[in-house]
């Protein structure tokens, strides 16, 4: 049976991951089990390779409704936390997991506070009373280690100016510049879930990698988790694209003594040293406002909130008028002090 549940050895209730203590805890009797020191039930099971298409809850026997990418969810009938084990083994086994450190209540509080801080968000939105749902989700990411060998040939110039007599002289020194650079990047994250908005996920970074744990299924208990939709080779071009601007900046910084450089020849050889499949914690908030659903995401470790809130035209106008008005009065005040008269 590929469905895994975590039953409390004391009272038989379902156990879930507790973000505060980082342990598997029983909500009924309060028992807490260390995840790191106990064997993962996943390793004790052997699954057949072909994926099951129907899962039954081991508590109540109901069919678990899950999308094909779901790896952890809760039974919609009895609410037990279930992990779909066959979707987390073999090639689908994550190397690490970054457990949640922010609980659902904390996430709600943090989100409400964030809503209140929006200076351009409409007043009705700021009260944050229409949160439709908040879901703790482990989003699949690939963490790439990328080694780059770079060779650049460029024409560099150093410009200096000086004044002699009635003339301003501009002296330009021309150089032939060569750089050979080894530039390595580690754990560059790329979102591997099809349904997550890449732009949103990019803004959630950075994730505190020092909190990464070796993957064990109990971390997923009580949350939604997904498996990757794209493998490491399919997303490598995205990873390269992500670091390309960093590489450009590094190359330019290695030639910082020049006023201007034009590249004659630039060779960047990027190799994937390794790619690790990890699950990163994200609180996803669905919010109804003006009949539109807005989606926000919160980093499950740092609490950083991203997502585009609605913008109030009234507040934009007010801010614009206030900032412009104050600037205008200040400028006029300066001109008045200079002797220009106020009008």
């Amino acid at each position: 049976m590929p469905v895994i549940e975590y039953k409390c050895p004391n009272c038989g209730s379902g156990m879930v991951f507790d973000s505060e203590t980082g342990m598997l805890s029983c909500e009924s009797c309060g028992r807490k089990d260390s995840i790191e020191n106990n064997p993962d039930p996943l390793t004790r099971n052997v699954f057949s390779e072909d994926e099951a298409n129907e899962y039954h809850c081991t508590s109540c026997g109901a069919v678990i409704i899950a999308e094909t990418v779901t790896t952890a969810t809760t039974c919609s009938f009895c609410g037990s936390a279930v992990v779909l084990g066959d979707r987390l083994t073999g090639k689908l086994a994550p190397a690490w997991v970054l457990p949640f450190s922010i609980s659902k209540e904390e996430a709600m509080q943090a989100f409400k506070k964030w809503c209140g801080n929006g200076r351009l968000t409409p007043g009705g939105f700021m009260t944050a009373d229409r949160i439709k749902g908040i879901i703790g989700m482990y989003v699949p990411f690939w963490l790439y280690d990328i080694n780059n060998d770079i060779e650049v040939q460029a024409a560099g110039t150093r410009v200096s100016t000086y004044i002699r007599g009635d003339y301003r002289y501009t002296e330009t020194q021309h150089y032939d510049v060569y750089r050979k650079i080894r530039l390595n990047y580690v754990k560059v994250p790329i979102d591997a879930a099809e349904k997550m908005n890449d732009e949103l996920m990019d803004k959630l970074e950075p994730f505190p990698y020092d909190q990464l744990k070796e993957f064990k299924t109990p971390y997923l208990a009580g949350y939604i988790a997904e498996k990757y939709s794209y493998n490491e080779d399919e997303l490598f071009s995205q990873a390269k694209h992500k670091i390309s601007e960093y590489i450009e900046a590094y190359i330019r910084s290695s030639m910082s003594s020049y006023t201007a450089v034009t590249y004659a020849n630039k060779q960047i050889d990027s190799r994937m040293a390794q790619a690790n499949y990890v699950l990163l914690p994200v609180w996803v908030v669905h919010y109804d406002y003006n009949k539109l659903e807005h989606t926000f995401a919160m980093n499950g470790q740092t609490g950083k909130v991203v997502g585009r809130p609605p913008i109030s035209k009234g507040k934009v106008t007010a801010w614009f008028a206030a900032v412009s008005g104050i600037s205008f009065i200040s400028l006029k005040l300066i001109s008045w002090m200079m002797g220009g008269g106020f009008w």
């Binding site: 200076r119 351009l120 968000t121 560099g156 009635d166 003339y167 301003r168 002289y169 501009t170 002296e171 330009t172 020194q173 021309h174 150089y175 032939d176 510049v177 060569y178 750089r179 050979k180 650079i181 080894r182 530039l183 390595n184 990047y185 580690v186 560059v188 990019d202 803004k203 970074e205 950075p206 670091i243 601007e245 960093y246 900046a249 590094y250 290695s254 950083k304 991203v306 997502g307 585009r308 913008i311 934009v316 106008t317 801010w319 614009f320 008028a321 900032v323 412009s324 008005g325 104050i326 600037s327 205008f328 400028l331 006029k332 001109s335 200079m338 002797g339 220009g340 008269g341 009008w343």
Partner: protein
């Protein structure tokens, strides 16, 4: 947003209109401030300019005077101006008082501008030069009425600024600070809207493995040097003619600017 802008514009523009309305010489006898001996103006133009000179001059407590002459006596334009002041004894506050005079010599096609007392303090040589530079092209093309209007308005405007400051400073206009503030407002609100969705908080150092990354080889070969030179432009004093005040035969000190047209 546009209503706010419009409101601001009206707010800033209105007091000027109001100030004008109050001090318009209602029933008060208009002084003769224009002496068109060369006959450059039609009667209607003359009336309009004379009214304008009275109105603007009252604001600055200075007589804004225009004299045109065919110069049959063949005198120097500066001497003509000084003699005019001594003989006619103009002045807003008293005879031989605050005045600014524009003398147009049609024979030699020369102009001279002179400021007396308050006119001398507020319209120094450099300001008179600026006024002359503004109006001279219009005199050259024969648009006398427009040239005289420019003279009256500019003299009035410059006298509103403390002596010594550059009256053409862009800050002293209304449109320039307004443009700048609208720009600032737009940028600030734009940034706020842009940042409301959360910002990317990783930089190029975040994922860089600095321990193993380095420049392995570097070559910097000097090739040659090119030098260009550019003449430094010295600011020239305005066009033909220049500044220079003096003292009239009657002992009245004045500022001045002369030039041909």
């Amino acid at each position: 947003m546009w209503t706010v802008l419009f409101f601001l514009a009206v707010l800033w523009a209105f007091p000027i209109q109001a100030a004008w309305g109050e001090t318009a010489p209602a029933g008060q006898q208009a002084k003769q401030l224009i002496y068109d001996d060369a006959g450059l103006l039609s009667p209607a133009e003359y009336d309009e300019l004379n009214r304008m000179a009275n109105q603007y001059g009252a604001q600055r407590e200075t007589d804004i005077i225009i004299v045109t002459s065919n110069n049959t006596a063949n005198k120097d334009v500066m001497k003509m101006t000084e003699d005019f002041y001594d003989e006619h004894a103009p002045g807003y506050d008293k005879p031989h008082g605050n005045a600014v005079i524009l003398m147009v010599d049609m024979k030699h096609r020369e102009v001279y501008l002179a400021g007396f007392y308050k006119g001398e303090t507020y319209l120094d040589d450099s300001r008179l030069n600026k006024i002359r530079t503004r109006m001279s092209p219009k005199l050259t093309s024969g648009s006398y009425k427009e040239a005289f209007q420019t003279y009256i308005q500019t003299a009035y405007r410059y006298m509103g600024f403390r002596p010594g400051v550059n009256p053409d400073n862009l800050l002293f206009t209304t449109w320039f600070p307004l443009l700048i503030s609208v720009g600032i407002g737009g940028i600030v609100v734009g940034m706020m809207a842009y940042r409301s969705g959360g910002r990317v908080t990783v930089n190029r150092q975040t994922y860089e493995d600095s321990g193993s990354s380095e420049v392995l080889e570097a070559g910097d070969r000097y090739l040659h040097t090119t030098t260009t030179k550019q003449k430094i432009e010295k600011s020239k004093s305005g066009g033909s003619g220049g500044g220079g005040g003096g003292r009239t035969g009657g002992g009245h000190s004045h500022s001045g600017s002369r030039g041909s047209f």
